[in-house]
């Protein structure tokens, strides 16, 4: 049964639908014309073989469509508000490269949103084949404004202002407006040409023009693709110059904690044992930190999803993940990416997209219980809600890390259910304990759980 992808509806020429495990793109006459023009180019063949554009095969269209393409299914769909700085920057550069190369063969990319880019094996890949269309002489780049709002300004925000862009992109799926960005920049970068043109002048021009009828005038005035190429060249240089200098921040130095190095081998063996028993295909590593356990899962052939809220750590992991079946997701488990967008379903929540068959929750639940003040009962219910086997590390109230995390809280301010016996009883209500292993000094226990 064909079901529309909830995030693919804006372009009437090209819509993605799911037919079981198959991913189909349905095209109208205009979309089919664009596809045929694209498929005939060497640019497309090379971009697909390089892994920069998703593969597409023309298949028989269903009734009501002029054409249909089949794409390989992506291991995981992620959104720019779940990406690290380097991920968004790499995606921006890919977007510019593809526009430049497309113009070189008489095509253009009609929009410029990071939602058209995904990450496979640690590399960005452009997935919206329907965005390519024949370039019409005299046309400006329609996606320029979108590029600045969803790529350039978020990167500037992090690199120049030192503010994470993810909450902004999560709060407004269209990105930052030029006028908001101008206000955020304030007096910074007053003499920077990129800030002057793309931020301040764009904000000023946008505020003065409420109509939309300039395209034909530009065409008549002699606008050419050379001007787009000049803009792309300058944007590439500007994006490349944007660097986020992050030092040791948050949990970047987590690996040097005594318990981490002490317990790492035991935890790895415990995970390997579960992977061997379950033959897991999709492993969700909650609180993945440097991705050590995600990498073990990826090595067995599973798709590993490394989820954490620490951007410096994940940014490093992303840069080390090339060639691994490992996806990086930046989100706070106390407030994970929700379903949002049009009708509340355009961008599904991360839990719905992850679809794991094994969940790892090592070194995590004490942060939820003691830092985020989630009741232990709620944590157990949440782990059970995945409806999959779970590997969880219990950390007792006597553990050094717990003492540190709860240092500013009175005992009566903490939720009940924190002791080993209480927590074990809660687990056994909804899970069967398949295996368990005490760690280090006895303040931590690994549980291998299967849902009852």
């Amino acid at each position: 049964m064909i079901a529309p992808d909830p995030g693919s509806f804006r372009d009437p020429a090209s819509r993605v639908v799911l037919d079981g495990e198959k991913v189909l793109r349905l095209l109208d006459e205009r979309g089919l014309k664009g596809w045929r023009a694209l498929a005939a180019t060497e640019f497309f063949t090379k971009a697909v073989s390089d892994g920069r554009v998703i593969a597409a095969v023309e298949v028989d269209p269903p009734a009501g469509s002029a054409g249909a393409l089949e794409h390989p299914r992506l291991p995981l769909v992620s959104y720019p508000y779940e990406w690290t700085f380097s991920m968004l920057k790499d995606a921006a550069l890919l977007q510019l490269d593809l526009l430049e190369e497309a113009l070189g063969v008489g095509l253009t990319v009609k929009d410029s949103t990071p939602y058209n880019i995904q990450f496979v094996d640690g590399r960005p890949i452009f997935i919206d084949i329907g965005s390519f269309e024949a370039y019409r002489k005299g046309e400006p780049w329609i996606g320029y404004r979108q590029f600045t709002r969803q790529y350039l300004f978020p990167l500037m925000l992090r690199a120049w202002v030192g503010v994470p862009f993810q909450p902004w992109l999560r709060g407004d799926l269209e990105g930052l407006t030029p006028s908001d960005m101008a206000r955020l920049l304030g007096r910074r970068k007053r003499f920077n040409m990129g800030a002057l043109l793309h931020v301040r002048l764009q904000a000023r021009m946008e505020s003065r023009m409420s109509d939309r009828a300039v395209r034909e005038d530009l065409k008549s005035a002699g606008f050419s693709s050379d001007l787009i190429l000049a803009n792309v060249k300058k944007l590439r240089s500007l994006v490349t110059s944007l660097v986020w200098e992050h030092g040791v921040d948050g949990w970047s130095d987590y690996g040097s904690c005594t318990h981490v190095s002490r317990d790492r081998d035991t935890k790895s063996e415990f995970l390997q044992s579960a992977l061997d028993r379950l033959s897991s295909k999709r492993v969700l590593d909650l609180g993945a930190n440097d991705g050590h356990f995600s990498a073990i899962a990826a090595k067995t052939g599973a798709q590993a999803i490394a989820l954490d809220s620490d951007e410096p750590v994940l940014d490093d992991l992303y840069r080390r993940s090339v060639g691994q079946s490992l996806s990086v997701i930046l989100t706070d488990l106390g407030n994970p990416s929700p379903a949002q967008g049009w009708a509340g379903g355009e961008r599904p929540g991360i839990v719905e997209r992850a679809r794991p068959d094994l969940v790892i929750a090592y070194g995590l639940i004490h942060h939820l219980i003691y830092s985020a003040s989630i009741p232990p009962q709620g944590v157990v219910a949440w782990l059970r809600s995945f409806d999959t086997p779970v590997l969880v590390e219990f950390v007792s109230p006597e553990d050094d890390m717990v003492v540190k995390l709860s240092g500013n809280k009175l005992t009566e301010e903490l939720h009940p259910g924190r002791t080993e016996s209480e927590f074990r009883a809660m687990l056994e209500e909804v899970f069967e304990v398949v295996n368990e292993q005490a760690l280090g000094e006895g303040t931590r226990i690994l549980f291998d759980l299967e849902p009852r």
Binding site: P140, Q146, R212, V214, A221, G222
Partner: protein, 79 residues
């Protein structure tokens, strides 16, 4: 007149048009020409002049139709 103000003045009265499914923004489209360098600034200037010229046509059309409408409404019912 300042550049932004000139753009706004030139484009201020044109009719609304939707291009594709994406709102490209008039200011952002015109800015692309400016970013393109000297040749682009010439294109932007020319485009603005055309807007001014078109505005004149729009005004003339509007005035003429308004005059026609006024004349029609003033005619005696029996004529």
């Amino acid at each position: 007149m300042k550049f932004g103000a000139l753009c706004a003045d030139a484009l201020g009265r044109s009719k609304n048009m939707i291009f594709g499914y994406l709102d490209a923004g008039s200011g952002s489209l015109l800015l692309q020409a400016v970013i393109g360098g000297l040749a682009g600034i010439g294109v932007a200037y020319k485009a603005m002049r055309m807007r001014i010229a078109n505005r004149g046509l729009v005004e003339a059309d509007t005035v003429e139709s308004e005059v026609d409408a006024a004349e029609d409404s003033a005619l005696p019912a029996e004529s």
